[in-house]
């Protein structure tokens, strides 16, 4: 009798839920002690979706995208346009809109880009993202150019939040995003542990062998690409509602870099890696941003991580917390 699949800590659903809930519990205290740090946690929670999406492609699918800003940008501008042209500031509609727009564009470009892997995929994504960025930037009479689109406070299911003080408003935002993130985490966890997730890892490890057991590699990658895009699009819509401003910055290549970087910090090899990465990254960023040469720090850290700790923080935490059973399930 062979023992069934057992998941190491960090790859199971429970530890992911516990982590998110623990952060949600800690949030009011953190905000009380330092509202600035509370906002950082808000960004951390907001980005979890994009990083889970990115890691579906990277950690599980073996496709490294240098252009996820494309989808964050789509989500962001969908929210922006919904408000600017239709007066909609309902956050559910913003999210729904971003899902549809990122789904649509991913379904359009996906069939082209997933034919390529490795270098070509990475740089094609970078380039397509830059194309979209140039569109937001140059069609300023539609997008507001670098001034962007200012958003008012969002409404939840039509309930306005205008009268509330900032702290309460932000708490509502945080818990709204937490709830959504829990839901998205649950779906993503199901996905990567489904037969689809297993087969996706197989295509990552060995494309040829996958074909010769009857897996349609192209289709697998296309589906993963589209789902990944939707997750990133949701973060885009949430992030601009957090800062209440839509500018081309969110679609710029530096945003793609942050997605890659945050995932690497956390570690792409465990499901929980990007979740940890999102919070740690925004914490690091909030300190490093005071130092204007922060791309220097980010670049150096990317190189150090790749050369010395390819498993990111989850690799460092491995021995003390996760114990010896933490093996390389997702990555390698």
């Amino acid at each position: 009798m062979v023992e069934r699949i057992s998941r190491p800590l960090g790859d199971d659903l429970r530890s992911n839920i516990v982590l998110t809930l623990a952060l949600a519990l800690a949030y009011p205290l953190v905000y009380y002690l330092s509202p600035g740090l509370g906002l950082v946690m808000g960004y951390g929670m907001t980005w979890v979706s994009a990083l889970l999406g990115f890691n579906l492609l990277f950690g599980y699918g073996g496709l490294l995208s240098f252009g996820h800003a494309l989808f964050l940008g789509l989500g962001a501008y969908t929210a922006g346009f919904l408000y600017k042209y239709l007066g909609i500031n309902n956050i559910e509609l913003h999210i729904l809109g971003s899902v549809l727009s990122s789904l649509g564009i991913a379904a359009l470009i996906g069939p082209l880009v997933v034919r390529y892997t490795k270098i070509f995929f990475a740089i094609l994504m970078l380039a397509i993202a830059q194309v979209f960025w140039s569109l937001y930037y140059k069609f300023f009479w539609i997008t507001g150019g670098t001034d962007g689109i200012k958003l008012p406070r969002f409404t939840i299911m039509g309930i306005p939040l205008e009268g509330l003080d900032f702290a309460t408003y932000h708490h509502i935002y945080f818990y709204y995003v937490t709830a959504l993130t829990l839901l998205l985490t649950y779906f993503m966890w199901r996905l990567v542990n489904s037969p689809f997730g297993l087969a996706l890892r197989a295509t990552r490890d060995n494309e040829v062998r996958s074909r010769f057991i009857g897996i349609d590699v192209y289709k697998m990658r296309l589906y993963a690409f589209v789902i990944s895009a939707v997750y990133a699009g949701i973060t885009g819509a949430l992030a601009v509602n957090h800062q209440r401003l839509v500018t081309p910055d969110i679609a710029y290549w530096t945003t793609s870099g942050k997605v890659v970087f945050a995932t690497l910090i956390g570690g792409s090899k465990l499901f929980i890696g990007p979740v940890i990465g999102s919070f740690v990254f925004h914490l690091v960023e909030s300190f490093a941003m005071r130092f204007i040469y922060w791309q220097l720090i980010m670049g150096a850290l990317v190189i150090i991580i790749i050369m010395f700790v390819p498993g990111g923080i989850t690799q460092i935490l491995k021995t003390p917390f996760f114990g010896a059973r933490l093996t390389r399930r997702a990555g390698g």
């Binding site: 009798m1 062979v2 023992e3 069934r4 699949i5 057992s6 199901r190 996905l191 542990n193 489904s194 037969p195 689809f196 997730g197 297993l198 087969a199 890892r201 197989a202 990552r204 490890d205 060995n206 040829v208 062998r209 996958s210 074909r211 010769f212 057991i213 009857g214 897996i215 349609d216 289709k219 697998m220 589906y223 093996t327 390389r328 990555g331 390698g332």
Partner: protein
């Protein structure tokens, strides 16, 4: 009934005629050992039948269907399955997952994402059976990098059997395997072939193995079949002797 019928298969690489009009018929449940010197076109033949390479001429008829121009994935679904000369597994999956993914692929469940794999009881049991069949049960949760090369080759074959093929093609299942392990690997494979009654083409380099396990033997030389018969016939064939036994295998 004929499982496989190859008609005048041709494959050229520049001026080299890797397959120069190969015709071959395999009955249901028939086992063929494919031998020949290096560069005879053995692997090319497997590549052509499995769809890894497109042929330059001829026909591949499988279960009375012309599959000459179909994609590899379609051939797998029809029942043509292969292993590779260099162990070709999913490196960052466990032994168990390697088999499980093949089970899922066979049942066309690899695009399903509503249920977690843990809930696929039937598939788990099927994977378990395969593992036990090939004595890989105790290594089920090892990563590929932690098992011996012999086990990797065995796993490669096991993956192929998992797919429930009607024709299985194994490209040198014992190459690179330690001499002491060779017999064990081959025994498990021939047992599996007998039990599943699958038609098989096995490329083999080691003449000891061929003489011990072979029934029908086909000899390929410079892209052509030069002999086709029972082990005994091949053993006595002068040209084959000269080519294989007297030459490289002296």
């Amino acid at each position: 009934m004929e499982v496989l019928k190859l008609v005048e298969l041709k494959k050229y690489f520049g001026g080299v005629r890797a397959l120069d009009g190969v015709s071959l018929t395999l009955e249901e449940g028939e086992s063929v050992m494919l031998i020949g010197p290096n560069g005879a076109g053995k692997t090319t033949l497997v590549n052509a039948v499995s769809g890894y390479l497109r042929v330059d001429g001829g026909k591949i008829i499988f279960m009375n269907q012309d599959l000459t121009d179909t994609k590899p994935t379609e051939r797998v679904r029809k029942g043509i399955v292969r292993s590779f000369q260099l162990a070709n597994n999913f490196d960052k999956l466990t032994v168990y997952e390697n088999i499980l993914v093949a089970v899922m692929a066979k049942k066309q469940q690899h695009l399903k994402f509503t249920k977690v794999v843990d809930n696929y009881k039937e598939e788990f049991e099927e994977a378990e059976q395969v593992l036990n069949l090939f004595d890989l049960g105790d290594k089920a949760h090892e990563y590929i990098t932690n098992i011996s090369y012999g086990d990797r080759k065995l796993l490669d074959a096991a993956i192929a059997f998992t797919l429930g093929p009607k024709l299985i093609m194994l490209d040198e299942p014992t190459s690179g395997v330690a001499t002491s392990e060779k017999d064990a690997v081959m025994k498990k494979i021939t047992d599996a072939i007998q039990r599943t009654k699958v038609a098989s083409i096995i490329i083999e380099h080691d003449m000891d193995i061929v003489f011990r396990y072979g029934k029908r033997v086909v000899v390929l030389h410079q892209g052509k079949i030069i002999a086709d018969g029972t082990v005994e016939q091949i053993r006595r064939d002068e040209e084959v002797r000269r080519l294989l036994l007297g030459g490289i295998y002296a």
